[in-house]
């Protein structure tokens, strides 16, 4: 198809680069989840962590077994992250309607 050299063989970008990036995202997500008090900010942290996991799956698929199972896994992680965001934010909004607050420490009761 193309006459120039296909350069997707060995190069400087390999598995550790992706693992490093996903590591950064995971740690950042953890820090956000622990250090922030706003519930929506905590959900942002959750999204970061889920993304880092999905990235890892895709990277392992590319560099280790190449059978796309990891891509399917990443796809379902993305799906579940969307569902999680929807339900989580709905809870936040309901919580805000009840307590006029999005502070995590105000969530002390199981029922309104």
């Amino acid at each position: 198809m193309q006459d120039h050299v296909e350069d997707n063989g060995a190069n400087m970008i390999s598995l550790p680069s992706y693992l490093f990036l996903s590591f950064i995202m995971f740690i950042a997500g953890l820090v956000v989840m622990v250090a922030r008090k706003n519930i929506i900010a905590i959900l942002l942290g959750v999204e970061l962590i889920l993304n880092s996991a999905a990235l890892n799956f895709a990277a392992y698929t590319r560099f280790i077994n190449q059978n796309l199972e990891g891509n399917i896994m990443s796809l379902f992680i993305i799906v579940i992250a969307a569902a999680e965001a929807a339900v989580g934010l709905a809870i936040v909004i309901r919580f805000f309607q009840l307590k006029e607050s999005v502070h995590i420490d105000d969530a002390t009761q199981l029922q309104a």
Partner: protein, 400 residues
């Protein structure tokens, strides 16, 4: 078949020779740089042409509205006022840029950038002709759906960041309208994906033919409805009347760009007009045969065989014909979009949501099921093929 612009250019001997010469001259493999240059020039040309079309779109809008309302329209700047859009552009540049006092400056600056980036990136997959497709991505239409949702974010942020009530209302309305109408549009494109068996625009167009009965709009009754669902969704997605709630000038001043002045406002407008063109182009590629020219004139083989032209010229004539076919259909749809704007009154915000969720989405789902079942029952045949089989059977039956 040439998937991208680079492969198209690469067919020509002159290009290959030039690359070989450059390789020798620099002593290394420069193919990567040449690819970059080809794409850069292609992208610049496409963006330039699109910006002109966007500008001319404002002119066409005024002229057509004037025509519909029996007025003159702009007629002072240049012949027939055609340079009006340049004058507007100059005015935009010379206007003072004002930041509202309470604004979130970072997001205020970011919003027009997101809109422009989101719209320009969609241009990469628009199939202008079989040669002039910047990137024939395998996930073409899905990519387009994803990247154009940046515009929704831009509209929301533009409304939010100014900290003005009109902007905020317009931004919220705009974002919810854009995401709502993305649902029927996505489901309708899904029917075309079912029919064409691929997500790329190349697959969309190549499985259609040049003549209207080979287009997907007339493939079966469901796609015929689907086209109109897509078209209405498209109007709402680009905030065109009768769905121009986000910028309803009689109730929201100017909607999400109330506080934008000067060049930033111009960029929002430019993004909007280019987006209309892109979505018209998508509608053409998905339903109206895309760049296909009747009687297979587009491949240029016929010119070579009948007229004895060199192969390369025949091919280029074919490309020009394909480009003409695509642009003609797209501009015709563009005209309809403007025509609709100046003909229908604006609808209310609850009606916008009702039309999307209670009419278009169920209709789109019905189409999806219909097309799936149709394909299963008829083995991918279009309604015309079915008819021709029927007539053939009847004809042979009558003969006996």
């Amino acid at each position: 078949m040439s998937p991208t612009l680079y492969d198209y250019v690469n067919q020509f001997e002159a290009h290959q020779k030039a690359v070989a010469m450059l390789n020798e001259f620099f002593g290394t493999d420069v193919t990567g740089y040449v690819t970059f240059l080809v794409f850069l020039v292609g992208a610049l040309i496409v963006v330039g042409v699109m910006a002109t079309i966007g500008g001319l779109g404002t002119y066409a809008e005024r002229k057509i509205s004037a025509d519909i309302q029996m007025r003159q329209g702009p007629n002072r700047v240049g012949p027939f006022g055609i340079l009006q859009f340049l004058a507007d552009g100059v005015k935009m540049i010379l206007k003072e840029d004002i930041y509202p006092a309470q604004a979130d400056r970072l997001l205020f600056n970011l919003a027009p950038m997101l809109a422009i980036v989101g719209v320009l990136a969609t241009l990469a997959v628009v199939p202008f002709s079989s040669g002039l497709t910047l990137a024939n991505l395998n996930v073409g239409v899905f990519f387009l759906v994803g990247i154009s949702s940046l515009v929704g974010v831009a509209v929301f942020l533009g409304g939010y960041s100014a900290n003005s009530k009109w902007s905020m209302l317009g931004g919220m309305r705009g974002a919810s309208q854009i995401i709502s109408y993305e649902v029927p549009i996505t489901i309708t494109t899904l029917t075309i994906v079912l029919l064409s068996g691929g997500l790329s625009f190349g697959a969309f167009v190549e499985t259609q033919g040049g003549l209207p009965h080979q287009w997907y709009i007339f493939h079966n009754p469901f796609t015929f409805i689907g086209f109109f669902v897509f078209f209405i969704g498209m109007l709402a997605e680009t905030n065109r009347a009768p769905f121009d709630l986000p910028e309803a000038e009689s109730e929201l001043v100017s909607g999400y760009h109330t506080e934008y002045t000067g060049m930033r406002f111009g960029l929002f407008a430019l993004a909007e007009y280019i987006e209309i063109f892109v979505l018209c182009g998508v509608a053409v590629a998905a339903f109206l045969g895309g760049y296909k020219v009747p009687f297979d004139l587009g491949s240029g083989v016929i010119f070579v065989e009948k007229l004895g032209l060199p192969a390369i010229i025949g091919k280029n004539i074919g490309q020009v014909l394909q480009l003409g076919s695509f642009v003609t259909k797209t501009l015709a749809l563009y005209y309809v979009v403007i025509w609709v704007r100046w003909t229908y009154p604006r609808i209310r915000v609850d009606q916008v949501m009702t039309i999307c969720w209670k009419y278009l989405t169920p209709l789109a789902l019905f189409n999806l099921v219909g097309v799936t079942v149709w394909m299963y029952l008829t083995h991918n045949q279009s309604i015309w093929e079915l008819f021709s089989h029927l007539f053939a059977a009847a004809g042979s039956g009558g003969g006996h």
